[in-house]
């Protein structure tokens, strides 16, 4: 019998069952607060998760651009050599030229398009149809371009009046990557008359290595003037994740307003209860309960309300989390990931703490009443 070991809990439990409906409604507030915090938190996590899933593995990519603000319009072979020196031995360094040409697909009207010149596209891309290498004369097209104009290996496109054969349709790229080929037409650098490059992709094995390389490139190329601009996708991802963190915190903050309301409702219930039980509490004090004993019994009631509401809230939150993850991530079981556990745990803790804090004032009020006054009726 639990009451034997926790007599204060026994009294508290019985007191709560005395006004069942009232206790139920008071802890319903906590249930709502816990569910609000936990499910908004889990919603944020699911959003972030589905975003990083889309973002894919781009943290290890760098793009180096000439800084047109300093009148550097293209990167030279010397720049490329410097970049190769800074990049680690295993990194892929892929300089890219661009030019704008009128392009017509399927003998339609020519449209001005950017043509990308890549020396060795096999180190960046794989083919969906056809073959990427060897690459000398033809064109590679991205999947979106191919879909739009119904292009396949062997199709003809016209670039500045010259017929070019499509050699391959490329695999879809990562949506946020600067190497993404989906909307591009790629030709061999042989077809370019210019010598300079308009961007250089560096793909390292890890995000940390990418970061070090980025710093190295800035140091060696931007020593005298800001020649180049280095874009790190990793740092963009970090920024976006920080934004998500802020969104999550704001969501949790909004949710905790519902806990505040729940706390006030518990405060109200407990105050009513201390007024109604004034004589009973007076008797307890008369028969030898110290102030702290009364405090203990009353706080135990508040704690029980909180734990009760908290447990119900956690159960409902996990249900809500299953639904959220089912729709947002497409995997209901993703609810059992660590950040979610953190939110659910925090919501439960806040729920119980809110109850206890709300119970403090009524409990103190009950405990500090003089028994003589309470028993006078």
């Amino acid at each position: 019998m639990a009451g034997r070991f926790f007599p204060a809990a026994l009294m508290a439990r019985r007191n709560l069952t005395r006004t069942k409906m009232r206790s139920l409604l008071a802890s319903l507030g906590i249930v709502i607060g816990v569910v609000a915090i936990a499910s908004l938190g889990m919603f944020g996590v699911a959003l972030q998760y589905s975003f990083t899933q889309n973002l894919g593995d781009v943290g290890n990519q760098l793009t180096v651009y000439p800084n047109s603000g300093e009148n550097v319009t293209e990167l030279t072979e010397r720049d490329i050599r410097a970049i190769r020196r800074e990049a680690s031995a295993t990194a892929t360094v892929s300089p890219v030229m661009t030019r704008v040409e009128p392009v017509s697909y399927n003998r339609g009207d020519p449209v001005r398009e950017t043509i990308y010149g890549v020396e060795n596209p096999a180190e960046l891309y794989e083919a969906q149809e056809g073959r990427v290498s060897p690459f000398r004369t033809g064109a590679l097209v991205g999947s979106s371009v191919a879909d739009e104009h119904d292009l396949h290996p062997g199709s003809q496109i016209t670039v500045n009046g010259t017929n070019v054969r499509v050699q391959a349709v490329l695999e879809e790229g990562e949506p946020f990557s600067s190497t993404n080929p989906d909307n591009r037409v790629i030709m061999s650098t042989n077809s370019f008359s210019q010598r300079g490059y308009s961007e250089v992709y560096v793909i390292e094995s890890t995000g940390t290595a990418a970061n070090e390389t980025a710093m190295g490139i800035r140091e060696s190329l931007n020593e005298r003037e800001e020649r180049v601009f280095v874009q790190e996708l990793g740092s963009i991802v970090d920024t976006i994740e920080q934004q998500f963190q802020i969104i999550n915190t704001v969501l949790a903050g909004i949710a905790s307003i519902s806990l505040l309301v729940a706390g006030i409702s518990i405060l109200n219930v407990m105050l009513m209860s201390t007024v109604e039980r004034r004589e009973e509490i007076g008797v307890l004090r008369a028969v030898g309960y110290q102030k702290r004993d009364v405090l203990k019994v009353m706080l135990m009631e508040a704690t029980l309300l909180g734990v009760l509401g908290g447990i119900a809230g956690v159960v409902l939150s996990i249900g809500a989390g299953l639904a959220i993850n089912h729709y947002a991530v497409g995997d209901a079981m993703a609810v059992f990931r660590l950040p979610n556990a953190w939110y659910v745990g925090a919501a439960f803790t806040f729920g119980v703490l809110t109850s206890i804090v709300s119970g403090l004032y009524p409990a103190w009020k009950a405990a500090s009443e003089e028994p003589v006054d309470a028993l006078r009726g």
Binding site: F5, R14, T17, V283, V287, G288, Q290, V372
Partner: protein, 227 residues
């Protein structure tokens, strides 16, 4: 040894510009096994005296000795501990906890001590008071007389030296009142517990050893029963 020895008790209240004397110099002593009633009109200071004897209140002047120990100036926490050890209370309105059974109500004063023998002792007390059949009933399933028996059992759970009763028969019919007074008499005689009952009920005086009459905070005549 005298259980309670109170000398020169004065209790003053200041309300507005006036000073009210609830007690105006009272000497009161209580021997073990003595059953004493305190009578007097409303406002004569009966309840104030009972509260001071029960360490619920402190006198403005005078001293209270509990088993020879001066308890006059003790703080709330010490007085609470002494109440728990040596004093039992019975109230006119019983003041049982409606959520607890008869046995649990009797255990209440010692409930937080996690003393394993308490339940057994509570049952024995209730059986002695003729409530063996009603041990696990809640107060709303008990009659007035039965509730007061539970309250008496509760006042005895800590083996007190003195039981203080405020209008113990006030809410009972005279037949039930007599049964309750029989119990008090028996407790005083058999257990050597001193009992003080504040009352308006003349019936009580048939059972007590002596009656103290209070008038305007002072002791009027005192009558001893049976010489």
């Amino acid at each position: 040894m005298t259980v309670i020895d109170a000398q020169g008790l004065v209790k003053r209240y200041r309300t507005g510009g006036q000073t009210l004397y609830a007690l105006a110099g009272i000497d009161f002593a209580l021997e073990p096994g003595e059953f004493v009633s305190i009578m007097g009109p409303s406002g004569s200071g009966k309840t104030t005296l009972l509260n001071i004897l029960g360490l619920l209140d402190t006198p403005t002047e005078g001293t209270v000795l509990l088993e020879g120990q001066d308890v006059t100036g003790l703080g709330d926490s010490k007085r609470t501990s002494l109440r728990k050890q040596t004093i039992g209370f019975v109230f006119q309105h019983f003041y049982l906890l409606p959520t607890l059974t008869a046995v649990e109500n009797v255990e209440v004063p010692l409930l937080l001590d996690s003393d394993p023998g308490v339940t057994k002792r509570a049952r024995t007390l209730l059986e002695r008071l003729g409530l063996g059949e009603r041990l696990d009933h809640k107060p709303d399933e008990l009659s007035g007389g039965q509730k007061q028996r539970v309250a008496i059992a509760r006042s005895l759970i800590n083996s007190p030296k003195v039981v203080l009763a405020d209008e113990p028969t006030g809410n009972l019919d005279s037949e039930t009142g007599r049964q309750i007074l029989d119990e008090f008499r028996r407790i005083a005689d058999e257990d050597d517990v001193a009992i003080v009952a504040v009352t308006h009920d003349d019936l009580v005086n048939e059972y007590v050893d002596r009656t103290v009459h209070l008038v305007d905070g002072t002791i009027g005549r005192e009558r001893k029963n049976g010489g």
